[in-house]
């Protein structure tokens, strides 16, 4: 025994130590490269999920911030898609690799709130006497709980209805009104399909839980109890309600009359519907306002935009937002957290929000952005680009259109999409929604039990 111990002490431990140190050095070396700031500045590591043109615009905004002052240096790091970034942020919390400031998407709000890994921005708003009244109320309410601002909305979009105005004119069809009803859209879609001799499909609606949730928001319907989670932790989900049925029945009617085309779900569905729209094979589709840039560059036709459709006989309640917010981690020193908030304030300014909308298609949140020259120029060039901003400004926040504050929204959305797929492929509406509802509630019960709520 003694001999073995000696052996372990004299030989094995040094070997293990060397291996561990070598691995450690490799890790530290790798992570250190990206997180050092210029001398005298406090580094603020900023994780985001903006790719493509949006990443370039964001990097420019960060550069300008770093040049505008000498106390902090924001270091942006791209972390891939929204869904996966959530787990990266949560699992790296408390380590030296974690970010000081991060972007996290709409449906992760309750998860971030329950994790208790962030400092609610309300603290810094109060300390700085920062006036938030210029920032869109419906966007702010999405990321707040019981009057406390948890995070600041950043890149914000809303679903809108796009239509090919040139094509409608060609066939002599009256375009939809600014805030159209379900039947109005059905009429336009059907006319386009018939008058083009079935060459152009009338409409599509991507199999996307977000769009189903927005249809409910616009119909003033809450998906879950306790005011869609804004008045307390939710305990019950009711997706099988008359208004979900109304929405799905509307789509079913269009599928039956042949004017509706199904592109499925996910990124490929979005690519396909845009490709078809630009190739004059599709007249109408509902999608995020963030696609406006892609739909105007290289489009020989006039683009028409209207609000998200609402059921017949009711007034539109206004849709909630999509996109993501900026959060401040609470595992960094006070000084770093303050610096992170300085950047948030900079990003929310009228000028930056205006430039952001022009570059990305995400909506300017600051109401003073509308007076900015960059945005005025955009509206002059593309008059329809004004519509999403107007829809955002017109929505009065209430529980139904302030997002669903519930943990496990990713799974809920998947189940919504499965139900939509069933209905689109001819399945029974009530059956699909009953199945979804049962699975959603079982998941919510487990989540609440695991969280001890």
């Amino acid at each position: 025994m003694v001999k073995i111990w000696d052996f372990i002490k004299n030989h094995l431990i040094p070997i293990i130590a060397v291996v561990v140190v070598a691995i450690g050095v490799a890790f530290v070396g790798a992570s250190h490269k990206e997180t050092t700031a210029k001398a005298g500045r406090t580094p603020i590591v900023f994780w985001h999920e903006m790719g493509g043109p949006a990443e370039q615009a964001l990097d420019k905004m960060v550069d300008n911030f770093n040049q505008s002052q000498s106390k902090y240096e924001v270091i942006p790091q791209y972390e891939g898609a929204y869904d996966e970034a959530v787990q990266k942020i949560i699992q790296s919390h408390g380590t030296s690799a974690s970010p000081a400031l991060f972007q996290s998407f709409d449906i992760s709000t309750a998860q971030m709130m329950h994790s208790k890994y962030t400092t609610p921005v309300q603290k810094f708003i109060d300390e700085d006497h920062y006036d938030t009244s210029d920032i869109s109320p419906v966007a702010r309410s999405f990321y707040s709980n019981k009057g406390q601002q948890l995070a600041m909305p950043f890149n914000t979009s809303q679903p809108v209805l796009y239509y090919n105005a040139t094509l409608l004119k060609k066939y002599g069809i009256t375009p939809p009104s600014k805030s159209p009803s379900y039947s109005e859209i059905s009429r336009v879609a059907k006319e386009l399909y018939e008058k083009s001799h079935h060459k152009v499909k009338g409409m599509t609606m991507e199999i996307y839980g977000w769009l189903l949730e927005e249809a409910l928001a616009n119909d003033k319907t809450k998906l879950i109890n306790n005011g869609d989670g804004h008045q307390g932790n939710p305990t019950k989900i009711n997706v099988n309600n008359p208004n979900t049925v109304k929405f799905l029945k509307w789509i079913r009617t269009n599928i039956k009359s042949g004017d509706f085309v199904n592109y499925g779900s996910g990124a490929s569905a979005e690519t396909n519907e845009i490709a078809a729209f630009l190739a004059d094979k599709l007249g109408i589709f509902v999608q995020s306002s963030a696609y406006i840039g892609q739909l105007t560059t290289g489009n020989k036709n006039k683009l028409g935009i209207s609000y998200f459709p609402h059921p017949d006989g009711t007034k539109a309640n206004g849709v909630g937002i999509g996109g993501a917010a900026l959060w401040i981690s609470n595992d960094k020193p006070e000084k770093v957290q303050k610096g992170a908030f300085e950047f948030i304030k900079y990003a929310e300014s009228a000028k930056n929000q205006a430039n952001w909308q022009v570059a990305t298609g995400y909506l300017a949140l600051n109401k003073n952005s509308q007076k900015q020259k960059a945005l005025q120029n955009l509206y002059k060039k593309i008059p329809a680009a004004r519509v999403p901003g107007e829809q955002l400004a017109s929505a009065k926040p209430n529980n139904a259109n302030s997002g669903i504050l519930m943990e496990g929204m990713q799974l809920t959305r998947e189940l919504e999409e499965t139900a939509m797929e069933t209905v689109y492929n001819g399945g029974n509406i009530d059956g699909a929604l009953t199945t979804a509802n049962k699975a959603m509630n079982a998941n919510l019960t487990t989540t609440n039990r695991a969280d001890k709520k």
């Binding site: 001999k3 073995i4 052996f7 030989h11 094995l12 070997i15 293990i16 291996v19 869904d83 996966e84 959530v86 787990q87 949560i90 699992q91 919390h93 998860q111 329950h114 994790s115 890994y117 199999i207 085309v261 199904n262 592109y263 499925g264 779900s265 996910g266 490929s268 396909n272 490709a275 078809a276 190739a279 094979k281 599709l282 943990e407 496990g408 990713q410 799974l411 998947e414 999409e417 499965t418 797929e421 069933t422 689109y424 492929n425 399945g427 699975a439 487990t446 039990r449 695991a450 969280d451 001890k452």
Partner: protein
């Protein structure tokens, strides 16, 4: 223990002492001295350490997590015993995933082997310009998953895709290749088989080339048809390779992830939601690490069973 031939002839007491000494000596000869132990641990230590950190620790952690519920931040909070497993194995959703995975894996393996064998036997014919076809048949080996997925997504596109253009031209009803649950599975199988074909072709072609030509010559003299030669000479001779390819394709089928993620994301209506893709979704989308751990362990058992089955059943028929 080494037995000395001399020990039999000596008297009992001496014999016993001598034997004891011999046993000790022989034990000593086979036991490790300090220096040997040092070298043994020196060489084994690093790999044991790395295996421990990256294989055994995650394995036990997965087992541990699968017996709990995990909260928002992925920490185990409530011990639930085997109920994660029971819930999974009684949920229609999970059983559906199991079923579609089986359909996918078996279809992919069977089609890959059948088509690979067909191409390999065609390519082994000695005709002019065969070199070009040999290169062509193995070309999908150089195609990455993402490229293959994007390539086939273009073909399957419902408005502008190649297949939709053909069906319009022939006045056939349009197929929702990636939006109809049945066809989505077909589309994914086609893409996977297409991707697998290059590697399978190359391996089987190599095996066919190494079958001695004398066997065929002898058969020809006997007057055996080329079909008879294929089934009675080629197949038995390449059976070890067929065995190898079938295992590799089967296990690869179970692990298929990139293609599903890029083409269907498990949809529509979970028609292509394979076991591996489910684990990923449950862990990294929904943050349900407990359930994902249970699913991972079930998958491990399934793959182990299949591999065992293949070794037991197929090995008997393999002509080494």
């Amino acid at each position: 223990m080494l037995k000395s031939p001399a020990s039999d002839s000596t008297s009992a007491p001496i014999n016993r002492a001598e034997t004891k000494a011999k046993i000790e000596a022989s034990e000593k000869a086979f036991s490790l001295n300090a220096k040997d132990k040092y070298y043994a641990l020196l060489f084994l230590g690093p790999s044991l350490l790395i295996l421990g950190i990256f294989i055994f620790y995650p394995m036990f952690k997965t087992l541990y997590l699968s017996l709990f519920l995990t909260n928002t931040v992925g920490k185990p909070t409530v011990f639930v015993g085997l109920s994660n497993y029971i819930n999974l194995l009684t949920s229609a959703d999970y059983l559906n995933s199991l079923a579609v995975t089986m359909v996918y894996v078996l279809a992919v393996t069977a089609l890959t082997i059948a088509l690979g064998l067909l191409l390999a036997s065609l390519a082994s014919k000695k005709i002019a310009g065969i070199g070009f076809f040999r290169t062509l048949f193995s070309s999908t080996m150089g195609v990455s998953v993402s490229v293959a997925a994007i390539f086939w997504l273009f073909i399957f596109n419902p408005s502008t895709g190649f297949l939709s253009l053909i069906s319009t031209w022939l006045h056939l009803p349009a197929i929702g290749w990636l939006t109809d649950p049945t066809w989505a599975m077909v589309a994914v199988i086609i893409t996977t088989v297409w991707m697998n074909l290059g590697f399978t072709f190359l391996i089987l072609f190599g095996a066919i080339q190494s079958v001695p030509t004398t066997l065929y010559e002898a058969a020809s003299i006997e007057g055996a048809s080329s079909r008879f030669q294929f089934f009675h000479i080629t197949i038995p001779s390449i059976s070890p390779t067929l065995f190898f390819v079938s295992i590799v394709t089967l296990i690869d089928g179970f692990k298929s992830f990139g293609l599903i993620d890029l083409m269907t994301k498990g949809g529509p209506t979970n028609a292509t939601n394979m076991l591996v893709y489910r684990i990923y979704k449950d862990a990294f989308y929904s943050g349900n690490f407990a359930q994902a751990s249970a699913e991972a362990l079930i998958l491990t058992v399934i793959i182990a069973l299949f591999t065992l089955l293949q070794f037991k059943v197929l090995e008997k028929r393999v002509n080494y």
